[in-house]
Amino acid sequence: MPKFRPSRLSEISRNNRQEIIKARLSRRELFRMGLITSSGYLVHKSGLSAWADGGCNPGECRPGCSPPTIPFVDPITFPPLLPERNPAVDPAFTFSPPRAVPNRATNPATGIPFEGRTQVHQFRDRFPPQQFFATRMRPNFNATFSDDPRNLARIGKNLIWGFNRGDAAASDVAVSPGPLIAPRYGRPIVIRRFNELSFDTRGFGVPEVSTHTHNFHSGPDSDGGPCDPTTGGESTDPFKQGRFFFIGQFYDYFETMARAGFDTPQFTATNGDIRETLTTLWYHDHRVEHTAENVYKGLVGNEFIFNDFDTGDETTGFRLPSFFPYPAFDLPLVLTDKLFTPDGELCFDTFGLDGLVGDKFLVNGKLQPFMEVKRRRYRFRVLDGGPSRFYELFLTNPDNLNQRIPYTAITTTDGNLLDDPIQVQSVRLAVAERADIIIDFDQIFRATGARTIRLENRLEQVNGRAPTDKILPAGDGDFLMEFRIAGNTPAPDASLSPAQMIANARAAGKECTFAPICTPPRPTDNAAAKEDRIRVTRTFRFERRNGQWAINQQFADCTRFRFTIERNTAERWIIQNNSGGWQHPIHIHLEEFQMVRRNNKLIRRGDIEFGRKDVARLGFNEEIELLFRFRDFRGGWPMHCHNTIHEDHAMLLLFQVADEGDKNRTP
């Protein structure tokens, strides 16, 4: 491949761009003419390209070096549902029946224990599993991000890691995002995950895994955390490692499908506080030190939990758009951004410390797909899959950029139901945050006449450290996908409009629209019940020292817990970012929190952050106050930055929950 000096070429390209700008062609017009991609890179035409042949060196992995691609040529795809299995007869279970105690017998075929788990499932006797699932993490060497021949010629087949539907047969190939798990409250589940990855990684990825179910109220045995000193973390014997597991092992994850509070006096009888119902979760790899590359390689998927109110059926309960029969009108949208080498290979900079922003945008693993939609309401579960990019999501009519197209958020930015749906122009998502949104395409069509609407990220972000917080003009952001509104008449729709839901709840005198799943009362300093009373206020300052992340001036340590929380008590946490150059989505495992204030500004009902959350988006020089209850389980969990590159390097601490806690205010 010929090699040119990148600086000179980009200068030529810049000059070309300047000339185009002088000719009064807007970005938008260039886009229409096919001269610029939605990512802002000039399309490869003679003398015009910032990429060209050799604008980047062969094998180079940085923004601007991915090959140009044509957007909106692939139909969107949705992951399959993970099928239920019968452990009595299914070969994924019969060789080692699913038990609360891990199977640590040595597998003669591998010489290491069958199961990677070392801890007993907590509360399994109380919540006997009723549903069993299996899935296998496998490499897929033939993954495509676009099946359009023009794009395939530039970005061909690639290796990804994903999850399959649980069959041992090679024909059950792994996909990313992995199969969607759709359990229901009251029906405890076991998910058996097999590690069938390989060391043939093509340059990044570590085939040892720990699958975290993000936002579920899990014991440490099933949380899928990064490290834990009580599972042999300090041991030199790798066979004692209990948190991540090796090729040739499986790991049984148990989810009680009970709500938080189930082991407190107030909520024992009801198996938890119904107001702690979780809705939109996701699972992803959490291999300590290597989470970013493994998730980026594809180890990610959705888990949506249904209940007697949010039923998945638009004719019952809250009457939200139907999930069943899947795929119907309640669908996942997993947003990720990627980098490719000029020769079209998915790449990741394992030597970078700042964070990684891609120049190619994927939704559910496809490059800027399109989706044909009916004239009715849809519920989308939008996830910022990282590794480092934040989004501000708008709906844009490409033919009339001045139109403002609102939509409705029904959850906080961590996928838990708000008290009342709120109409928004945009939603900001940091890495790992989720938003459930309702888009009414019939209403949009009637209001705008548009047949084409695009999901656009208008938040400027030029590096992995943080977004700039600048909102770009409509059409100048990155189009993530295109909705094509079909039909000359409205489509059947038994779901209720958000306005109707609110009106019905008011008429019935309900406490909130999604009653009984209303935001629980906040813990207070003087509450009568122990689990409602704030026992200690702790402050965590997120810092950087000589290029190393620190929390309260201390560094990551997998060999000890930094502090101990007393089980079934409440705490107030103040988290601080002393930097004007970095932002951190701070994620805390085990329990959700309520955000009380951001920079001394109270979060009020009607704000999208008013409710239950598990990620606190810590902006430039911000201070955020959080209130938690830590209930039910005993053991160790992490708090970490969910910019996964920051997390790996290693903006992370471990805490534990025990029957007696400490009062360390700056742990």
Binding site: A92, L197, F199, D200, T201, R202, V288, E289, R545, Q548
Partner: protein, 226 residues
């Protein structure tokens, strides 16, 4: 379960992927093994990592020996790499060096046998081999840990390639603010991590062993592959 036959144990898993794991360890490079149907022939990933992150620059050891960074120090090895300078007064280097001395002691005689430590000076003009040798003696550094100096442009290239530079040039120019991370990895597996040099040495030991002691290479999947 101990009566489980090898065949039955393997049957629960995808056998091919297990074999591939072992194969990757022993192969010099991992290209052309997986049927990736690229539109053009893609660069071998190990070669790509070498080219962009592990430059084969010439360096001089604290014993005065000339070495090539990739060929002589990193290739086919498990390594731990950091940057320091002997008159570093900001606390980062002394603490990191002392930490790594602790880690080295905990690793026993493995350092120099199957794990190699490298500390590269950020002050190549001052830190001659003799100065580095004195520094190593002062910290009671054991065998298998090499301090390195060299031409300033070689050191600079290495620093940037290994990810020890800041994107902001002003921040990057301040040597007292130098990146205190410790890079570690297994070159033939193309796995690279980074720990905090000032972290608890037992934590560093732990994350290093998770990298260097994976069971696949040990008594686990021991099938030899030519």
């Amino acid at each position: 379960m101990s009566a489980m036959t090898r065949r039955a144990g393997l049957a629960a898993f995808g056998v091919a992927t297990i074999a591939a794991g072992v194969a990757a360890w022993t192969r010099k490079t991992s290209s052309h093994s997986n049927g990736v149907d690229a539109p053009r022939s893609r660069m071998d990933p190990r070669e790509r990592l070498q080219r962009y992150h592990l430059p084969n620059v010439e360096l001089v050891t604290h014993e005065g020996k000339k070495v090539r960074f990739y060929d002589d120090l990193v290739k086919d090895r498990k390594v731990v790499i950091n940057f320091m300078y002997t008159n570093c007064a900001d606390g980062t280097c002394p603490i990191t060096t002392a930490n790594l001395v602790q880690v080295q002691k905990l690793l026993g005689n493995r350092v120099g046998r199957d794990i190699f430590f490298y500390s590269i000076t950020l002050s190549p003009d001052q830190d001659t081999p003799a100065v580095l040798a004195r520094y190593a003696r002062a910290y009671d550094v054991g065998p298998g840990w090499t301090f390195l100096t060299g031409a300033p442009d070689h050191i600079e290239r290495l620093r940037k390639a290994l990810g020890f530079a800041y994107a902001d040039p002003v921040e990057d120019a301040n040597k007292t603010n130098h990146v205190g991370m410790v890079r570690y990895g297994t070159e033939p597996l193309m796995i690279w991590g980074a720990g905090q040099g000032m972290a608890n040495p037992r934590h560093l030991l732990t994350i290093f062993l998770w990298e260097f002691d994976r069971p696949l290479r040990g008594k686990g999947l021991r099938a030899p592959v030519a």
